[in-house]
């Protein structure tokens, strides 16, 4: 143990940087937990950070973490994926999208396979890049496959506004953007799911601010903590949720003040409001959730791929045997899926949760194939071993 003078000095200067502070947080969690608790980390980036840092192995046995539907690639519905793949059969089409979307298996193929067949599929890191492709290739029809939550939707909105301002008419978007609060409300109403606290997504909260989630604590009496992405940020959020239970509280705490303002990013929110209107959206495994998507407003309908090419989304079933839907709904952990690490691996993914680096199946495969933690002999791991 470091001496107490050093503790006080480090504590004052920057508790995030002091080497011993994680130990203190874990000890305090152990002191305060008095009953089994299950917390959901909503965001896929949190899931990866939790696995990468080994946080699960440090927590008391009474505390379980379950991953939520916060991986945008994973929650994209099978029909939405199929649409992006099938549209490549039309003449002069270029599909541009973020990296992880390329390998998600559709019903018959994937964007990556279509690319290898010679179709024009471009990988971009920003919606603005997709617009540049359209600007530089006026003979092509460029379709941007827009996925992501409230963090990503403003960038798409800004790009649509730019397309209109520059009068770029060969650019359109498949808006698969999704909203976080409605899906959380659906989860807390699920009788098969018992969540004792939410670790809320830091970067979605940068845009939304605090108020968008307050209903979870106020209406459903479930403690919430907005968290950053460093291991210590996440440990603090876990400690906060444990303390709230110990103190009989259910409130929303923002533990990521270096990035999240109480009011959110008003400019980004107004950009979303200017371009999009809330609509019903299909979520993989969770079905259709009212007002959980973003569709382009009528004045921007010329940028809507579905309207431009008169396409109707289909509703194909998920791949046979794939339990991604149950994983996303928090009903099972990846280890419980019969395909996990057998037929479904990162090299040969069956479902999107194994494709995306933010997917919980991918995270379990990479960091935690053996079970919950080295000493927590999870019944899930045992079941898989016996399979």
């Amino acid at each position: 143990m470091p001496n107490r003078a050093m503790q006080k000095s480090d504590k004052k200067s920057n508790p995030f940087k002091a080497s011993f502070t994680a130990q203190h947080v874990i000890e305090a969690i152990g002191q305060r937990i008095s009953k089994p608790l299950t917390f959901m980390e909503v965001c896929g980036t949190h899931t990866v950070s939790i696995f990468r840092s080994g946080i699960r192995s440090l927590l008391p046995e009474e505390l379980s973490l379950v991953s939520g539907p916060g991986c945008p690639v994973c929650v994209t519905d099978q029909g939405e994926i199929d649409c992006a793949i099938d549209i490549l059969d039309m003449p002069q089409i270029t599909v541009a999208t973020y990296g992880d979307m390329l390998r998600v298996p559709g019903t018959k193929s994937s964007l990556s396979e279509r690319k290898s067949e010679g179709k024009d599929v471009r990988l971009v890191t920003s919606a603005a890049q997709a617009l540049s492709i359209a600007e530089n290739n006026p003979e092509r029809e460029v379709v941007f496959l827009a996925v992501g939550f409230e963090t990503t939707a403003p960038a798409t909105a800004a790009t649509v506004l730019e397309a209109r301002e520059k009068n770029i008419s060969n650019f359109s978007i498949l808006s698969y953007h999704k909203q976080t609060p409605p899906v959380l409300e659906q989860l807390v109403q699920d009788p098969d799911l018992k969540i004792d606290g939410f670790i809320l997504p830091g970067h979605v909260s940068v845009i939304l601010g605090h108020n968008a989630y307050r209903f979870i604590a106020q209406k459903y009496k479930i403690p919430c903590a907005i968290a950053g992405f460093e291991p210590m940020d996440i440990l603090l959020a876990i400690a906060d949720l444990v303390f709230q239970h110990a103190n009989g509280q259910a409130v929303l705490h923002s533990l990521y003040p270096r990035a999240v303002r109480p009011e959110g990013n008003q400019k980004a929110l107004s950009m979303i409001d200017r371009v999009f209107t809330p609509c019903s959206a299909r979520w993989r495994g969770l079905g259709e959730i009212p007002l959980s998507g973003y569709m382009l407003k009528e004045e921007f309908s010329s940028f809507d791929t579905l309207l431009r090419f008169q396409i109707t989304l289909t509703s194909p079933p998920p791949p046979a045997g794939c339990r991604c839907g149950d994983v996303l709904a928090g009903h099972i952990r990846p280890l419980e899926c019969p395909l996990f690490a057998k037929r479904c691996t990162p090299m040969t993914p069956v479902g999107p949760c194994m494709v995306s680096s933010e997917g919980s199946c991918s995270a379990y495969y990479k960091y935690n194939r053996g079970g919950e933690s080295p000493w927590k002999k999870s019944h899930l791991a045992t079941e898989v071993a016996d399979d």
Partner: protein
Amino acid sequence: MSEGVIDEMCLAVPHTIEKFLGENKALANTGSVQVEVRTDLLDSVEIGDTVLVHAGFAIEKLEKDDSIELRALWDEIYQYAEQSHAKVR
């Protein structure tokens, strides 16, 4: 994040604004890498600001990590961690 691929879609990386490149565009630095970022989503950005960049767009300026909630949480953590040490001693 590997080059050209967004591995984690909700990932936002701190960058320092170094130079403006015209309306809503700036050159920003993250460690040893310089990239062009869009600043449309922020009201005002200045040279030297540290911003979070997500999917090519700066989404917020980073500020000092402090709040009443965080301070209260640290106080509670130290209170219980110290009790734990007192038991061991």
